[in-house]
């Protein structure tokens, strides 16, 4: 599903005040939900692995984003502490710790995670992508701040594997 199609779908939703859209065909599957008030994103799940989950909310990404200046691998300086693994950003976007402004952070220090635990959201092109831990263990450090811009490969969390 190309970006243009996704953006058209999101525009369709916004224009018509839709809150949820669920599409499936033999190659693609997408679930999009949005809120009509200026609140935080709400998480969705995706079915087919290659199709990203999305969530649209009329939040200005540039207003919230801080400019990323760190280089990947140099972004934390703590990524190679003995025995720790880093959860790295698989994309470029803005980091959100929680699924809404009133919600608690998805992952804090001490949280036990498994491969499927959603640890944060990354927003790009007004679409919110949930990021999973992809490993089992315990969060020992959160390396980025809420609203911070992150680049591909940037370390987001340190995890002590279990």
């Amino acid at each position: 599903m190309d970006i243009r199609k996704l953006k058209e779908l999101v525009r369709l939703m916004v224009d018509n005040d839709l809150t949820e859209l669920d599409l499936r065909d033999k190659d693609e599957q997408a679930t999009i939900r949005r809120q009509t008030t200026l609140t935080a994103p709400q998480v969705v799940h995706h079915g087919v692995p290659l199709t990203p989950s999305m969530h649209s909310a009329p939040v200005s990404p540039t207003a919230a984003a801080e400019v990323a200046t760190a280089k990947p691998g140099a972004s934390s300086g703590a990524g190679d502490e003995a025995g720790l693994e880093a959860i790295e950003s698989p994309m470029v976007g803005t980091f959100y710790a929680a699924s809404g402004p009133d919600k608690p952070p998805l992952a804090t220090v001490g949280l036990s995670v498994d491969a499927n635990t959603v640890v944060c959201l990354l927003e790009a092109m007004k679409i919110f992508n949930e990021i999973k831990a992809e490993r089992s263990g315990t969060i020992v450090k959160v390396l980025v701040k809420n609203g911070q811009a992150v680049e591909f490969g940037q370390k987001l969390f340190l995890v002590r594997p279990s």
């Binding site: 984003a65 400019v67 200046t69 990947p72 470029v92 680049e151 591909f152 490969g153 940037q154």
Partner: protein, 448 residues
């Protein structure tokens, strides 16, 4: 004018755009793949954002990540450079829809000139010379023979739905044509499910002649004269020069003006190149239009004094072209040598790896556009061009001499480059006398 421009490219063209932005007071933002982490050009950017792993399809071709990088860096425009997404109308549209100015033509103008049928129609309207031939498919073989006789043999039979050389036949005479159409139809039917073929003039000893044009959003367009890029190998340009040598001045003016008229008709803004073949009688036939800045743009900058990249940014920001056609005059002669990390002695084997020695030439008339320095590692993921040597001198003869000197000064190692090939070509009689054609490099290489 833009405050911040995101450059959706890498290497020398990223550096070229950084330099242009810097001089316009714009902050350049780069995106890069993890293979390009530490790339020397990134140091010169105001900001650099890693967008993905080494393969282009996961980084430099990822529209979503590039747009996301433009968002987080708060860019207000995106420059595609060349190759990658530069001629992707969808990308241009996404940029626009996402609130970023695309530094290049509108998606509509890009499509209008990018589609070959539409482009040929526009070209005829603008008076731009195109290949004569049957316009649509051939129904009647006798009619095709008559067309071929009218335009003169040799002709080429092409599949309407074709590509990749299949469904193509070159015919030297009527018998060959009749046979060729039959064969091409069968091949095209089998390959593309569409037996429709058409006939066009075929040129074998032509020169590659391309006209640099640039337009603004206010309907103005000028040409910056032409480049001759006949020194090619496998359709890859090796040496380009401007102006084309030994071309009749009146014919030059006419074809260059027709190219400017074509982009005016297409309501095209930004830089474009109209590519032609030129036969021995200096007739021109348009091949296609490239809707972006080209690798070889610096030689046109050298002979006209126009900064094409800066102008492209300025017109994208809505400015009018800062010069009229009458301001553009050819001054001297320029050549560009693409320094490719390939070993010409070993069938142009790619030479990725560490560059230990990089001693660049200098002095009057020498420009080097390159992101490479000693200690740089050429990644295996992208194309092999490690720099462009641009040489400007008062005459073509002096340009050849100056180029030989600069190439002798240019030391790269241990990776091999195409420098020795150029030292040879600059001494070839066909090139020196400008009696070369687009196949002469391949003939020379085959002969040795």
């Amino acid at each position: 004018m833009f405050k911040r421009v995101l450059i959706a490219n890498r290497g020398e063209i990223a550096l070229r755009i950084i330099r242009a932005c810097r001089e316009l007071g714009i902050e350049p933002v780069c995106v890069y793949s993890s293979a390009d982490a530490g790339g020397p050009w990134l140091e010169q950017a105001a900001q650099a954002v890693c967008i993905g792993p080494p393969p282009s399809k996961d980084s430099y071709l990822r529209i979503d990540r590039i747009i996301a990088a433009a968002e987080i860096s708060r860019a207000d425009a995106i420059h595609p450079g060349y190759v990658f997404l530069s001629e992707n109308a969808h990308f241009a549209e996404v940029c626009r829809d996402s609130g970023f100015e695309f530094i290049g033509p509108s998606p509509e103008a890009m499509f209008a000139l990018g589609d070959k049928v539409n482009c040929k129609r526009l070209a005829k309207k603008a008076g731009t010379p195109v290949f004569p031939g049957t316009e649509g498919g051939i129904e009647d073989i006798d009619e095709a023979v008559q067309v071929a006789k009218d335009i003169g043999f040799p002709v080429i039979v092409k599949a309407a739905g074709g590509g990749g050389g299949r469904g193509m036949r070159i015919a030297q005479d009527e018998a060959g044509l009749r046979q060729g159409i039959e064969q091409a139809r069968q091949e095209a039917a089998a390959a593309f499910g569409n037996p429709m073929v058409f006939v066009e003039k075929y040129l074998d000893l032509a020169r590659h002649f391309e006209v640099q044009v640039i337009g603004d959003k206010h309907g103005n367009a000028v040409h910056l004269y032409e480049r001759d890029c006949s020194s090619q190998r496998r359709h890859q340009k090796l040496i380009e020069e401007a102006p084309a040598p030994e071309v009749d001045p009146a014919k030059r003016e006419k074809v260059c003006e027709s190219a400017a008229e074509l982009i005016r008709q297409a309501k095209y803004s930004g830089a474009a190149t109209c590519e032609f073949l030129m036969d021995r009688s200096q007739n021109f036939y348009m091949l296609e239009v490239n809707t972006r800045v080209q690798v070889e743009h610096p030689i046109s900058e050298a002979i006209t004094g126009v900064d094409i990249v800066q102008t492209g940014i300025r017109v994208a920001a809505g400015e009018r072209l800062p010069y009229k056609q009458s301001d553009i005059r050819i001054q001297g002669h320029a050549m560009e040598f693409r320094i490719n990390a390939e070993d010409p002695a070993r069938n142009f084997m790619p030479q990725a790896g560490l560059v230990e020695t990089w001693i660049a030439p200098g002095g009057p008339g020498i420009r080097l556009d390159s992101h490479v320095r000693a200690g740089y590692r050429v990644p295996t993921n992208y194309d092999s061009m490690v720099g462009k040597l641009i040489v400007h001198a008062p005459t073509r003869e002096q340009c050849i001499r100056r180029s030989l000197g600069a190439l002798a000064e240019f030391k790269v190692g241990p990776i091999k480059t195409t420098i020795p090939l150029y030292q040879r070509l600059l001494r070839e009689e066909l090139f020196v006398n400008a009696t070369h054609d687009i196949k002469y490099v391949e003939r020379l290489l085959a002969a040795t």
